[in-house]
Structure formats: C-alpha cells, structure tokens
C-alpha cells in the first residue's frame, strides 16, 4: 500500500512504474476554445493524493465537494429577450483547479468511472436543494490492470481531470458561458477522438492519454466540476474508458478489469442501472427522522382532533342510497377488466400478459385485494399521479426563456413526494413552503411565475382551488360576482405566501368597467393589504406545538390549510381521488365547491375522516375505493350520465378513457419502444444560464415531456422526434403550456385523436415491426398462429379474442404465416445525423437544414425488420393498427 509520503518519494526518484506519455486536451470545432490560452498557471494545482487503504475494493468511491457558503441562484426573470445578445446572470464562481470546492457533502459507491447523474442534495425537510456553484465530483478507485500498453479516454461536459496516484493523466477544459447563435454546426462523429465509440454528446470534450500498466494496484481519481458562474449544474456524460494494446475501449470499473463495453448498449444499460441506484440513495438522503417525528406528532394530533364521522364502508353509504331510491347497481366487472382498469388507474400502464394470466388463473377470493396491494406498492403510483398534480398545481417549466407563468420544474419534487407517499398534509405543507431548488426540481420552483405582476397571488389562487376547492380566479381583478370572495381575501392569502403586506398592482384591477356593471372593485391600486387568513369558518387557532416558525405567515397558511379540525382539506383530496376513479366527484366541480351540493355528504365526511385519521395517507383511501364494489362495477351509460352532483347515486362508475399520459405510456410500453425523443433542451452544450434555458433530460415516461412550443417558428429549434409524441399527448388533452391550473381535462373526442394513431407518425412508429418492437419478437417466436393472436389480444386489450375476432385475425395472418421468417440477420439501425444542433448554432442556416432533414427521417418512420417477409409483416402491422385504434383500447373497461 502506498501512503502519500511514499508516493512523493517514488515520484521524485522516478521509480514509479507507469509512464504518462501524452496528455492531450481536445476541443476541436470550437474555434474559440481551441484558440484560448492554456489553463492559467495558477490553475495547475495537483490532483489530490488518495491512498489505496481508504478506498473500497471493487468499487469506485464517489465524493461530492462544495464551496462553503453555497450560492443559490435567484428566481427566473425575463429580462432581455434579444436572442442575439448574451444574457446576464451572475450566480456562482468560475470553476478552477486552483480553488477546488473543499467541503465534503456526500459520499457513496459506484461500480465504474461512468456517470450520467449524481445524487441529489436535500434539506432537513427532504426537498432537493442546489449545491454550491460549482461543486466537484471526485471518484476514486484502486485499479489493477494487467500489464500492457493502454490508452485512456476521458470524456466530460465540464472541466475534468484523471490522475493516477496523484499524477495527472488527462485534462479537459472548463465549461465557459459563451454566447453564440450562428456558430458552425459541429459534426460529433468527426469531433470525437475515437471513431466507433458512442457518439460524443454535444458540447462534450475528450482527452486521451497513453499509459503503461504494470499489473500492480494504483489509485485512479476522476474529478469533474459541475456548474459554475452562469453555468447550469449539469453533469453531462462523464466517463473514463481504457483500451489495452489497441483493443476495444471498455469503461473503467472500480476493479479495473471487469467493466462494461463502451458502446451504445453498454452506456444505456449502465445509465439505467445508475438511475435505479441513485433513486434508492436519494430516497435515503431525503429521510430525516426529526422531520418524520414532527409529522408523526402532527398525525397523532390529527387523530385526536378529527371531527367524528360515523360509517363502515363506502358500499354501505352507496348501497343505502341505492336501496332508498330502488336503483339497481351495475354488475361487478370481470376479472380481466378489473385488472386492466386498476392497473391503469394506479400505475398508469397496462397489465402485462403474465399479470393477466396469473390473475385469471388465481382462484383465491382475495385476489382483487392482493392485486390492489401489489399495485399500490408499485413506484408506478408516482408516475400515475405526477401528471395530475402538474395540471392541478400548474407546473409549467419552459425549455427556452420565460413566457407567461412559467414555474420551475417542480415535477422532480412531485415525483419524489409521490414515490415517498408523503402524508398529504405534509405534501401540501412542503409544496407551499416553497423551499429548495427553484430551477432544478425543488418546490421553490412552484413559487415562480414569470411575467406575472404578483406571482404569489397566482399561487394563492392555485392552492385555494387545489386544496380548498375555492376558485378565486375572479378575485384577482375584482370581487368575485358568483363566489363568496372579495378581492381582499385573495390578497390577504397572497400576503401570507409572500410573507409581506401586498401592494395592489394597478394591473390586477379590472379596467373599463361599465357603470352598470355589477362587478365590484373593492380595492384601489397601491393599497396595502396585510397578510391574514381570510376564511372565517376555517379559522381555528393552530394546535399547540404545530407551528415551528412563529411569525412565518407562509407556515401559518399551511398549518391552517391542513388543520385537522376542519375537514375541508381532507374532503377536497378524497373527492379528487374519487373523481379520477369513478368519473364524477362526490362534489363537482372538484376545484370549486361554492355552488355545488355533494352527492353523498356522509360518505364525503367519512372518507375525509379516514384520510385524517390514517396519517393523511392517500393510499389508504385509494385502497378503500379500489376495494369497494362501487369502484369494481361495470361502467354504464347510466353511470356516465351528466347530472348535478346532488342527484348522483354511483350505481355504476362513469365510462372513462385513458388520459394522454396513460395512453402514450401504455402504447409505447406495450410495443417495447422508447420515445426516442431528443434531450429536452435547446442548449445541450450547457453554455447558457438557467434563467434562459432548461434541460429536462430525455423523457422516459410521458409526464417527463415539456412544451416544445416553437414561438419563434425556427426549424433549428424544433425537436422532430419528441414532437411526434407531444402531438399525440396534446391531441388527447395534455397541455403544452400549463399557465393556469386545471383539475379536469378536456376529454372530448376529436378527429385528430384517432387520426394521429391511424396515420400519424407516432401511430406508424407504434405499429411498425422494427427490430426494437416487442411485437417483432412475438412474431419471430415459433408458435401456432392462434397462440400469437391470443397474445396480441392479451397484450393490447388484456383479454383473449372473441370467437369471431379469432376467425378474422386468423384469416388475416394465415397467408404466409408458415414462411414468414426470412432467415436474414436483423436490420442495422439507420444511421443518425451526427451534427450537433444547439442554441449556439441555431441561426446558422445549416442548422435549419439539418433539422428539416431529421424531420423527413422521422416522417419516414422506423425501418422494418429484415427478419419477416414484407407481405406478412404488413398483415401483422395491420392487426396491430386495428387493435390500437379500437375504442376498446382507449376506454377503461
């Protein structure tokens, strides 16, 4: 084992058996960077010396270092919008090896020197916060490589360096905030140093080093800065790969030898596995026993103080009304239909063939309850509910410069909160406390509203409709004519969120009112409104021990909102859940209760109490609903009839259809295809500040998409691959811009919906039997044709074919079935354009031409498999077309 003193001695005598023959930082194509002077001398501070003794074996130790006194970026502001002028933003410090961050704030282990993400940082309340700008990732491992001549390749977006036993091997330059919009469009295939490796991502740099290994253990360190002054905190794809004696490059593992191949498949698999590891690490980092103890105390208090609401079960309430009115309820659904509906409702996906088969074969009377428990335990719960809260809370991040009411991407916090199944009182409190990172996913992002003269008024309005079903929209500009609010009520709430008195802006007062108008303006411009809780009958003084920051009106707002002695908050939430799953609310509209009467007030009260007395655990109420006969009945026309809530009996659930996200996720999952969307940013090179550019990454579930709204109508800003999915999402009710909250989407049928599935580029991708389609694998599998047809129906409709369907599909697929295989090798993926279009070059006409070319490629569709005869393949695609387009696919059974 070396100690640092030994190492220095060895270095001095030159007896260390490794030789660094070449250090070659590279930044081709980027002329300015190439011409830039070499890193200043002051920067040339040696890499740290880490001893093998302190490192784990077979793994890479990852440490995060921050600067003391972390600089947190301020809110998004829309200042200049001249696309050809550099923006101003001064958060953070420049990255420099002379002043590496020195405060260690995290440590964990990874299997290899390959990173596409790092852990997040959380505050005591479990919300993600920003690290210092920049922060430093330092990875170190004990490497023992068989003797030989090696080439080492460092790839990074940000400034990074690799060292062996403290001696620098490779260095890449720091990211610079450099404005450009008409630069040359680099060809990444030509930029990258080693042909054949995965395409170098835009803006990334490489450095190669030669190295002769001696078969002995050495300490390898990889350091990379993340973020900096005006630089968004993005890691990019950071890796160290080695090639022995001219052989293929492999990603360097913690043990040096057994790492994975450095190819597209290896990188993709490694990234997916890393994401899973980080999800677990982050979940542990969010947990704070003190915070949990506080909420346990709150929830214990809630149990003591909850108002009584007698009842036994949902069905007892529903059946009593049905009997009284002599209405016969609909029959229960069959098992297959139940499983399809529950799976879509709880995790937003179709059940797999295996799940359907196992469920149908199960004869236990408890099987529905068990399936419900399994689904409620699935992390898919979070994916299912994020889009709901994105709508209700108007999550509205913008990829490019702020427009109206843009927020931060607090989808990340929503996902984590739902994954953790936070008690709903804690969920609402954390949201409205608006702490953490504004622009990188924390609830502080909820607090932003670009171009809004009074952001907290918008937030007060959102929170009131989301959690109190009080629609205060009108009160923004005048006393609400058909709601019991006046303007001052909204401004008092605004003040509580703002933590200061509110000066009424003139722009928030209705203009030009007719003399005869009955709309009343009770405020005047410039008037000062004090923070105050305006709801007289939700006005109990906070319970003792609940307030943690006396005098903080934002906390007071949250505490009063979630006070267990009034059940409005709980009732609003259970009613929202009920509406999503039964099709109508016990009260409708779910966000505005002023003029509605509940269908079954006793049931509503009982469900609300169930939530309050069960730790505000929404999954508890979800379990009650899903297990009820009321939910498990067959949807009928009678159940779907629109009547006022007061007259509703719930003799059957209403007919519902998948929402946009469920449809898109179901279609892509069942076809086995990825969205194949571009990275959702206009600045993949990470040269522009967060106030103008965001990066939402590569979407994997439908809710991860963001508006592609191309206000500038510029080809080079289009994302043709993502647009295909966004078109389908938008046609089915997803909103590209969520400038205002919405609790119920427009679910009306329109021509574009089936049209996009029937003839759109997205529909064509889904049915195309390309090499990556799960249906291609199914078609290649040796099996009798009826078995193949049964599989199609089970996968797509969660049921076996009916006799006449089996006959028709047999007739379609029989011709050529025996000889369908060509015996050919699988088709190679079509070559992709390797030019890196970005904000830095989007005004170069070449960038427009490239994106138009990509658009044409996307329209041409996925290439078909070469392993099936064309005529039969087309028949099979027609079968898929009919099943995916069928109304049965879209509508929940």
């Amino acid at each position: 084992m070396f100690t640092s003193r030994h190492l220095i001695a060895l270095l001095c005598t030159g007896s260390l058996s490794l030789a660094v023959t070449e250090v070659q930082p590279v930044a081709t194509e980027n002329k300015a960077a190439a011409k830039a002077p070499p890193e200043k001398k002051a920067e040339a501070v040696s890499p740290p010396i880490i001893t093998a003794a302190e490192l784990p074996r077979g793994a890479v130790r990852v440490e995060i270092f921050e600067h003391a006194g972390s600089a947190v970026e301020t809110a998004i502001e829309t200042t200049g919008g001249n696309d050809s002028a550099p923006p101003k933003d001064a958060a953070g410090e420049d990255a420099s090896w002379a002043t590496t961050p020195s405060v260690k704030t995290d440590e964990y282990a990874e299997p290899a020197f390959a990173f596409s993400a790092v852990t997040a940082k959380y505050n005591g309340r479990g919300v993600m916060v920003d690290r210092s700008r920049p922060f430093l990732l330092r990875a170190a491992g004990v490497i023992t490589l068989p003797p030989g001549e090696y080439r080492l390749l460092l790839r990074s977006l940000t400034g990074a360096r690799v060292a062996l036993d403290g001696q620098q091997l490779a260095l890449t330059p720091h990211l610079k905030n450099k404005f450009g919009d008409a630069e040359p469009v680099p060809d990444q295939a030509k930029t990258q140093l080693v042909p054949g490796l995965p395409l170098l991502p835009p803006g990334h740099k490489e450095a190669l080093a030669n190295w002769r290994a001696d078969g002995q253990p050495h300490v390898l360190t990889l350091e990379a800065f993340v973020g900096g002054k005006i630089i968004r905190p993005e890691l990019g794809e950071l890796s160290v790969a080695v090639s022995k004696d001219g052989g293929p490059f492999v990603l360097l593992g913690g043990d040096g030898t057994t790492a994975r191949a450095f190819d597209e498949a290896g990188w993709t698999a490694g990234t997916a596995a890393q994401r899973e590891r980080l999800a677990a690490l982050n979940a542990a980092r969010r947990r704070n026993p003190a915070e949990d103890a506080y909420w346990k105390m709150r929830n214990d208090l809630a149990r003591q103080h909850a108002a009584p609401a007698p009842g036994a079960s949902i069905d007892a309430f529903i059946d009593a009304k049905l009997q009284a009115t002599k209405v016969v309820p609909a029959p229960l659904t069959g098992d297959a239909a139940f499983l399809r509906r529950a799976t879509l409702d709880v995790i937003g996906l179709l059940p797999t063939v295996e799940e359907v088969a196992a469920f149908l074969a199960d004869t236990s009377p408890e099987k529905r309850a068990r399936a419900i428990d399994r689904l409620l335990a699935d992390v898919g719960w979070a994916d299912r509910w994020v889009p709901y809260w994105q709508d209700v809370l108007a999550e509205n991040p913008s990829m490019l410069k702020g427009t109206l009411n843009n927020t931060g991407p607090f989808r990340a916090w929503l996902y984590e909160a739902l994954r953790d199944n936070l008690p709903m009182d804690r969920f609402a409190t954390t949201l409205l406390t608006m702490e953490g990172s504004a622009q990188n996913g924390g609830p502080a992002g909820f607090g932003l509203a670009t171009q809004n003269d009074l952001p907290m008024a918008a937030k007060a309005q959102i929170v009131s409709s989301a959690f109190l079903a009080m629609e205060m929209k009108c009160a923004r500009c005048h006393d609400a004519p058909n709601h019991p609010f006046d303007q001052a009520d909204l401004f008092k709430l605004t003040g509580m969120l703002q933590r200061t008195p509110v000066k009424v802006p003139g722009t928030s007062l209705a203009q030009g009112l007719a003399k005869s108008s009955h709309v009343v303006l009770s405020l005047t411009a410039g008037q000062l409104i004090e923070p105050h809780w305006p709801f007289a009958d939700l006005a109990a003084e906070p319970l003792p021990g609940v307030i943690r920051r006396p005098g903080d009106t934002r906390e007071e707002f949250a505490v009063r909102l979630t006070d267990p002695r009034h059940d409005r908050f709980a009732q609003v939430l259970v009613n929202r859940l009920w509406k999503e799953w039964l099709g109508f609310g016990i009260v409708d509209p779910v966000d505005d209760w002023e003029s509605a009467r509940p269908a079954n007030p006793e049931l509503l009260r009982w469900l609300g109490r169930e939530l309050i007395t069960h730790d505000y655990d929404l999954k508890h109420v979800a379990r009650l609903i899903l297990n009820s006969q009321c939910y498990q009945r067959t949807p009928t026309a009678a159940g779907s009839r629109v009547v006022k809530s007061a007259g509703r009996l719930f003799e059957a659930p209403a007919r519902r259809r998948m929402n946009a996200e469920q449809l898109v996720d179901a279609l892509f999952t069942v076809s086995g295809k990825s969205f194949d969307a571009e990275t959702l940013t206009q600045d993949p090179e990470c040269r522009q500040p967060a106030k103008d550019h965001s990066n939402f990454g590569v979407p994997r579930r439908a809710w991860e998409f963001a508006g592609l709204s191309n206000e500038r109508d510029r080809q080079a800003l289009a994302k043709p691959r993502a647009q295909v999915v966004v078109d389908v999402l938008a046609a089915f009710g997803w909103r590209e811009s969520r400038a205002e909250p919405r609790s119920v989407r427009d679910h009306d049928a329109n021509v574009l919906q089936p049209a996009l599935l029937a003839n759109g580029t997205g529909g064509a991708r889904l049915i195309r039997l390309s090499e990556d389609s799960s249906f291609t694998a199914l078609a290649l599998h040796a099996q009798p044709l009826p078995e193949l047809i049964a599989q199609l129906f089970l996968r797509l409709l969660s049921r076996p074919p009916m006799p006449e369907e089996a006959v028709a599909f047999q007739e379609l697929l029989e011709p050529g079935y025996g000889g369908r295989l060509t015996g050919a090798a699988p088709a190679r993926p079509a070559p992709r354009n390797t030019r890196a279009v970005s904000w830095a070059n989007h005004l170069n006409p070449e960038a427009s031409r490239i994106v138009v070319e990509i658009e044409q490629q996307v329209k041409a569709g996925d290439g078909p498999t070469t392993r099936l005869q064309t005529a039969w393949r087309e028949r099979m695609e027609d079968a898929l077309w009919a099943l995916m387009l069928s109304p049965e696919f879209l509508h929940l059974p």
Binding site: N82, Q511, H518, D537, S709, E711, E736, A764, S886
Partner: protein, 432 residues
C-alpha cells in the same frame, strides 16, 4: 365545517352577485363609440413573418439611406407603388405594382420590446398577458366565431410549427389548429402514409370495423364510446375527402405553381386551396430560416441576406393576391402580413438591426376593404408615429370587423366574459 360547504359570512353578497350573472356588460368599453358596419370577408390568410420584419427596409421606407454602420436609414432604395405617394423598398416590385389592393399599416405599436415569444404572443392574442387568463390566438377566435365554412374541414390550419401562442387558450381544443410544417407532407395525422395502398387501407378498416363494432355494440348506450367511434369515422372521411385534396398542389397548373415559386409561395398557394375548401383561417409561417438562418430576426450579419427574404415575400404575396383576384376570392379573403415587432432605423454593431416595437408595419390586402390607402405616418427613420396610430387591439378589431365578427363582443372563459379585443376600434376609413 357544515356539509353545505359555504362560509356564512359571504352568503349575503353571494346571493346579491348571483343576479349579476346574466349581465354580460362587464368590461365593455364604458362609452362605446357607434358601431361600424361589419365587413363581409369569409376567410383570412395570416402570413406570419417570425423574427420581426424591419419596416424601414420593407413597407415604410425612408429617403435617408443607411450604411449598415453609423448612418441610420433604409438599407435599400425605394420605389413608387400603385398608391400615389406611397413607396416601398426596391425588393417589393411586384407588390408595388398592385399596391392599390393593399393597405400598409405603418403605425402599429406595442410595448413588448425584447422577447420574441412574448411579442409573438401579443401579436397573436392582441393583448398583454394576464396572470389569470390564457387568451386565445386570433386564428382560434376566428375558428370559434365563424367555424369552418364547409363540413369535414378544420376551421383553422397552421403552416408552421405548433406553439402555445397559436393555440386556443381558454376557448379549448375545439378552437385549436391542425398544423403542418411543410407543404410536401400534409398535416400531421391526416395524411395516409404513401405505403398504405387503398387495398391495404380497406383491409385495415375492415379489421378495425370488426373489433370496433363488437365493443361499440357491447356499449351501445355509451355516449363517450360513441363519440370516439364517430371521431374515427370522421377521421377516415376527412382523410379520403375533399379537404385532403387541398394538399395535392400538383392539381394546379404547372405555370401557376412555378409562378408562386419557393416553399413560401407554395404555402400561399396551399393557403388559397385550403380556404377554397372551407378553412376559415390559415396562418402561413414564413420561416425559411435556411435562407439566412435568422429569418426576419435580422441582427448582425443576417441583414446581408434580408433582401432575399423580401424578394421571396414579394413574389409569394403578389402572386397570391393576384391569384385570389383572378379566382374572385380577393373580396372575401382578407390577407394579413404580420410580425411580432419591427426594427429600428439604426444598425447594431454587426451591421444588422435590433428589435423595435414602438412603431412598426403590418399589411392588409383584399377582404372587401377600401384598399389603396396608407394607414399611419411615421418620422424620418420610421421609429415614431406622427399620425393615425394603430394599436394592436385596433389591428385585431379591424381584422375581426372585416370578417364580420363584432369586435366589441365578449367571449366566455367559463362563466367569465372576456372582451374579444382589448377595447380595439376598427380602422374606420377602411370600411365602406
């Protein structure tokens, strides 16, 4: 909390206010001027010059010539037009010859200076953003008010990129658009892929018919299922119907297609074919960014190829207006040339022009208006309005009035009345 869910404190006022609901008087101009006669145009072709067209280099040229450096002024020479006394830049010769069919509006203005997206929004919705209302685009308003002029045709088509600004806002998806990004491939979703032969389409539809009928029959009473089933049928009708023939530009005489010229011209031609089939509002994006990269956002070196854009605009616009006239469509079709803002008379350090919204130009043509008149006068560098200012709401009111839509009426955002323009007044002298 009582189960009736109402706070007692507010009961009285709520009851009072309920009576006010039926009065849509809210936010009407307090003292409305006498209403102008409405126009009789049936369609609108809205040509969008994204980036910000420089008025001094196009429709509001000035005698002082700029040098691309310190000397502000027109970048090009000016030429006379068919409107006596009115000049345009030398790269608009075809439009100049038939300028009596046009109305240059030289006194547009708003206060969104520096943000393309925000200014684009202003010039599509006609009003400043508000924290609590998402306003519909002009195309959506026209679609909502006038619907399509024929069955089986969408009322509103965008030739360009989808964006929230072009969307329906509070009017909801029914007032949304169908879009296409180039004339060659037709609208997303409505065009049957070329490899699907009629025979194969029939095979598909027969199979779908079987699966679909089974489900629809099992749920015969169900309106939601039936609606979607009808949407499927409609989509097939649309796909095989007259509307899709609009995209067969090859049906036009070769000479006319050639006259329309480049992709922008073909878009104009497609626009004409769409309105002939009953589309009410077509937005034609002039986003040929492969000409100079920046399109009309002519900062810095983008200025050098600006004349190419202007020439392409000249050709497409002149051929369109001439063609509409020949087909007796010009009186019932309002052609609008709009942009998010203008540009100053002076130059930036790179020889181009920055953004300028205090004064800029838009153009109207046809629509049964009293064309051949100039609206608005500006100073020596086309940067200050000296007479006849036309605010964005007035411009919108003029377009609505031309299309027979009362510019003073209210739209409904749920139960809330929202005036269709922000107190806009149509330009009176354009109406007979």
């Amino acid at each position: 909390m009582t189960p009736d869910l109402t706070r007692r404190d507010f009961l009285t006022r709520a009851a009072l206010a309920a009576g006010a609901l039926s009065l849509p008087s809210f936010a009407r101009a307090a003292d409305p001027k006498p209403a102008l006669p409405l126009g009789k145009a049936e369609h609108c072709l809205f040509i969008w010059l994204g980036g910000g067209m420089a008025q001094i280099d196009t429709f509001d040229p000035k005698p002082t010539r700029g040098d691309g450096k310190k000397q502000a002024g027109s970048y090009y020479a000016s030429i006379d037009t068919a409107i006596p006394g009115a000049q345009v830049c030398e790269h608009l010769p075809r439009v100049a010859k038939m300028f009596d069919r046009f109305v240059p509006v030289r006194s547009l203005n708003h206060n969104v200076i520096d943000e393309h997206a925000a200014a684009t929004n202003r010039m599509h919705t006609g009003r400043p953003v508000s924290g609590s209302v998402v306003y519909p685009s002009i195309g959506s308003i026209v679609a909502h008010q006038r619907k399509a002029a024929a069955d089986g045709v969408p009322p509103y088509v965008v030739i360009g990129y989808p964006s929230a600004t072009r969307g329906p806002g509070f009017l909801g998806p029914k007032a949304g658009y169908v879009y296409l990004t180039d004339t060659a491939s037709g609208p997303a979703g409505l065009t049957r892929p070329p490899e699907i032969t009629l025979e194969r389409a029939a095979r598909r539809e027969a199979l779908l018919g079987l699966v679909r009928n089974g489900f629809v029959q099992r749920n015969a009473e169900d309106r939601i299922v039936r609606d979607y089933d009808e949407a499927i049928a409609e989509s097939f009708k649309l796909q095989g119907g007259d509307f899709m023939r609009a995209f067969e530009l090859g049906e036009e005489p070769e000479a006319l297609r050639a006259e329309y010229g480049d992709e922008f011209g073909q878009r104009c031609l497609l626009g004409r074919r769409l309105i002939q089939r009953g589309v009410r509002f077509v937005e034609v994006g002039f986003n040929l960014n492969f000409v100079n990269g920046a399109g009309w956002d002519t900062h810095n070196a983008a200025q050098e190829q600006q004349h190419e854009l202007i020439q392409r605009l000249d050709r497409g616009l002149a051929v369109l207006v001439g063609d509409l006239e020949k087909q007796h469509l010009l009186d019932k079709t309002l052609v609008v040339v709009a942009t998010e803002f203008g540009r100053p008379g002076g130059f930036d350090a790179g020889g181009g022009r920055g953004h300028y919204a205090k004064c800029f130009s838009g153009v109207l043509a046809g629509g049964g208006l009293r064309t051949g008149q100039v609206v608005g006068q500006t100073d020596d560098y086309a940067m200050n309005i000296t007479a006849e200012p036309v605010g964005v709401p007035d411009f919108f009111a003029t377009i609505f009035a031309t299309l027979g839509i009362d510019p003073a009426k209210n739209l409904m955002d749920g139960d809330r009345p929202v005036p269709i323009t922000d107190k806009g007044q149509p330009i009176a002298k354009l109406f007979a």
